[in-house]
């Protein structure tokens, strides 16, 4: 499978990736985070915990997910061969569940019977509600009231799974406000509550812990690529909102310096419009939600409202490890707008019979741009992080098809 040629061991003990990451929280949260850090440090070395996690991923999630050679899509683009890591085939239909299982198992070992989560599109909420049902835990999901209205099907799914969904009316009534509210719940109920953060952001240890749980994606690819493609890819491509599916597939490849890592942000209505979610490309470093990272903010340091056709990318920050990867030059970051993502969605449906999530469609769209510039022998690996069933309403509206 090839050994890494560069050692990589970030973050440091305090959760810093260079100048990014860290733990920027109110004193009221410090004890809870210390407890979590200590528990995770123990469990991440505990063979029994790791075996239970592996067992759940195999028999409950259905891992390993296949790497699939998208031959008709590759032919259509006329260049590099495109391979898809099929996270859409996981139980619940996206990569999110990998992390939720890891954190729920940790919560159980810490003796916390109640889990809470924030959600934007509802995917992380559904994944959290799913594992809470699986392990018999109480579950509360915070969701911006705007998103509750836009994602009625996912709200109903969470309720079917026994979760309580609390609409958040403050601020812009979207993901970042749901995150604020979940933090408040955690501060108040820290004795019996575990906060399952859905992405590689938040205070230390979350960016590291979520990355560790998600890096099963990249570790599988390292083994699978030689089998299905004869070698490791020339580039790994993944969409980036908070950045958990991208960190999951990037991380095992960071030390393999011959492999390009390409993160695809949401350009929304276009970078020039100001209505996008491209924090790394168009943002500036700052502090939000417990870590230092690139943020979309105004000149006074207030966080801006963001836009993307895909709710899962609609977030004004990004995981701090991506900020480090950008500054260090190890990863490249590009942006794909709503129209390009939508076109890629349709193309993948028609060429491969796969409905990708709108989030993942951003990564597909960039692969479709890059492939024609490369020879036929080149190999691109795209993380197909989720399936698009949840997006049919949005796509129908945009395409004027409806139901």
């Amino acid at each position: 499978m090839g050994k890494p040629d560069l050692p990589y061991d970030l973050p440091d003990a305090a959760g810093h990736f260079g100048r990014y990451g860290g733990s920027f929280v109110s004193e009221t949260l410090v004890a809870a985070l210390d407890e979590l850090r200590a528990a995770y440090a123990r469990m991440s070395q505990d063979p029994e915990f790791l075996a239970e996690f592996a067992y759940e991923l195999k028999y409950y999630v259905g891992r390993p997910s296949p790497v699939y050679h998208a031959r008709r899509l590759s032919e259509r683009c006329g260049g590099a061969q495109i391979f898809l890591k099929r996270e859409d085939l996981n139980h619940t239909g996206a990569h999110k569940v990998n992390n939720c299982i890891g954190q729920a198992l940790l919560a159980r070992r810490m003796g916390k019977p109640r889990v809470i989560a924030e959600t934007g599109a509802g995917q992380h909420g559904v994944a959290t509600a799913t594992v809470a049902a699986r392990y018999g835990m109480r579950c509360v999901v915070y969701m911006g009231s705007e998103d509750v209205a836009r994602q009625a099907a996912n709200v109903y799914r969470m309720k079917l799974l026994g979760a309580e969904v609390i609409p958040v009316e403050s601020g812009s009534k979207t993901l970042k406000d749901a995150l604020n509210e979940a933090m408040r719940d955690w501060v108040t109920n820290v004795a019996d509550t575990f906060y399952i953060i859905g992405t590689v952001a938040g205070p230390h240890p979350y960016p590291m812990m979520v990355r560790d749980f998600q890096s099963v994606i990249g570790r599988e690819c390292l083994e699978q690529m030689p089998e299905v493609a004869g070698r490791q890819p020339d580039a790994v491509i993944a969409c980036v909102g908070g950045g958990s599916n991208a960190m999951g597939i990037f991380h095992p490849y960071i030390g393999h310096t011959g492999v390009r890592l390409i993160g695809v942000e949401a350009a929304g209505y276009g970078l020039a419009s100001g209505k996008h979610s491209a924090s790394l490309i168009a943002g500036r470093p700052g502090v939000l939600h417990g870590n230092r990272t690139y943020l979309l903010q105004d000149e006074n340091g207030q966080i801006r409202e963001t836009h993307s056709i895909s709710a899962g990318l609609d977030y004004p920050g990004v995981g701090p490890e991506h900020a480090w990867l950008k500054d260090s030059g190890r990863a490249e970051y590009v942006a794909i707008d709503d129209d390009e993502a939508l076109a890629a969605f349709h193309t993948l449906c028609r060429t491969e019979g796969i409905l990708p999530a709108l989030e993942s469609s951003h990564a597909i769209a960039y692969a479709m741009k890059l492939a024609p510039q490369l020879p036929k022998e080149a190999v691109l690996l795209v993380n197909l992080s989720g399936r698009g069933d949840k997006d049919m309403h949005t796509v129908g509206e945009k395409s004027g098809l409806g139901f």
Binding site: A14, G22, S23, F24, V25, S26, E27, T28, V30, A31, A32, D34, S170, G171, K176, D177, N180, M183, R184, V187, T188, V190, R284, P285, G286, V287, L288, H289, G290, R292, L295, Q297, E299, N300, G301, Q302, I303
Partner: protein
């Protein structure tokens, strides 16, 4: 001597405790802020915590978040907050002003520029909710270099090691958060506070103020018996929300005077 130190020493000599009201700058509008600060002093406030509004106030409850949203909707910003402090300072050379807010507006302005502007506006101390001591050595040093105090929070969950590390970087006073939760929550455990304050005093040689959950004169009085200062925030914001633009200044003054009277019953 700094205005904060001076204030606590004067109060101690007189056997009184400090009353610290919190208001959000720009709430209900920018023109109201300086009159509200003056009314607080007239009502008996010893030090004013002035909230710098932020779009994502994670550690605050809904009341203070609403105040932030009202202020931001009218264009309040960190630079404008500093202008308001300068205006207040022009008429009041004595009452300390402590800014309370979140890291990102300060990061956006830059430490050096912020410290220069804040100290020349007449700010005496700064409490950044999401700067724990281990993440802000550079910022605390910059504050001190400009003669301002770095104020820090301690919580019921703070361990003895934590109290020591906060104490090593803090100056001015310590703000003890009297309960688990966010600002504006309603339950406060007097016995818990009474047990914790001596533990803090063992390691930290500066005045200890208590806030979060203090909503009336009786509670303020209870806390004044055991702490050096009483901080009231959400309850004042509610007073502002409840008042018309014409009555807001006098209502806030009346409310603070009521708390002051209850506290001064303390020997």
């Amino acid at each position: 001597m700094s205005r904060i130190k001076n204030t606590f020493e004067r109060l101690q000599a007189a056997g009184r405790k400090a009353l610290i009201p919190f208001i959000t700058a720009g709430d209900p509008d920018a023109d109201a802020t300086v009159p509200l600060m003056q009314a607080a002093v007239a009502g008996g406030a010893d030090l004013i915590e002035l909230g710098v509004p932020f779009s994502d106030p994670m550690a605050d409850g809904p009341t203070i978040q609403r105040a932030s949203e009202r202020a931001l909707a009218q264009g309040m910003s960190l630079r404008k907050v500093l202008e308001l402090v300068a205006r207040f300072r022009a008429g009041d050379g004595q009452t300390p002003v402590v800014l309370m807010g979140y890291a990102n507006p300060i990061e956006a302005m830059g430490y050096a520029e912020f410290c220069r502007a804040a100290s020349s506006a007449g700010v005496d101390g700064v409490l950044v909710v999401d700067y724990p001591p281990e993440e802000c050595h550079e910022f605390s040093d910059a504050l001190r270099a400009h003669g301002m105090d770095a104020i820090f929070l301690l919580a019921p969950t703070s361990t003895p090691q934590r109290i020591a590390s906060v104490g090593a970087q803090a100056s001015g006073y310590i703000y003890y958060v009297s309960l688990k939760g966010v600002t504006g929550a309603s339950h406060l455990d007097r016995d818990e506070v009474a047990r914790r304050i001596p533990e803090i005093r063992e390691q930290v040689r500066m005045p200890v103020g208590v806030g979060f959950g203090i909503r009336d004169g009786a509670t303020a009085r209870t806390i004044a018996e055991i702490a050096d200062a009483v901080v009231i925030g959400s309850r004042i914001i509610e007073e502002i929300e409840r008042s018309s633009r014409d009555t807001v200044v006098s209502n806030v003054q009346k409310f603070i005077a009521g708390i002051r009277a209850a506290m001064d019953g303390v020997a």
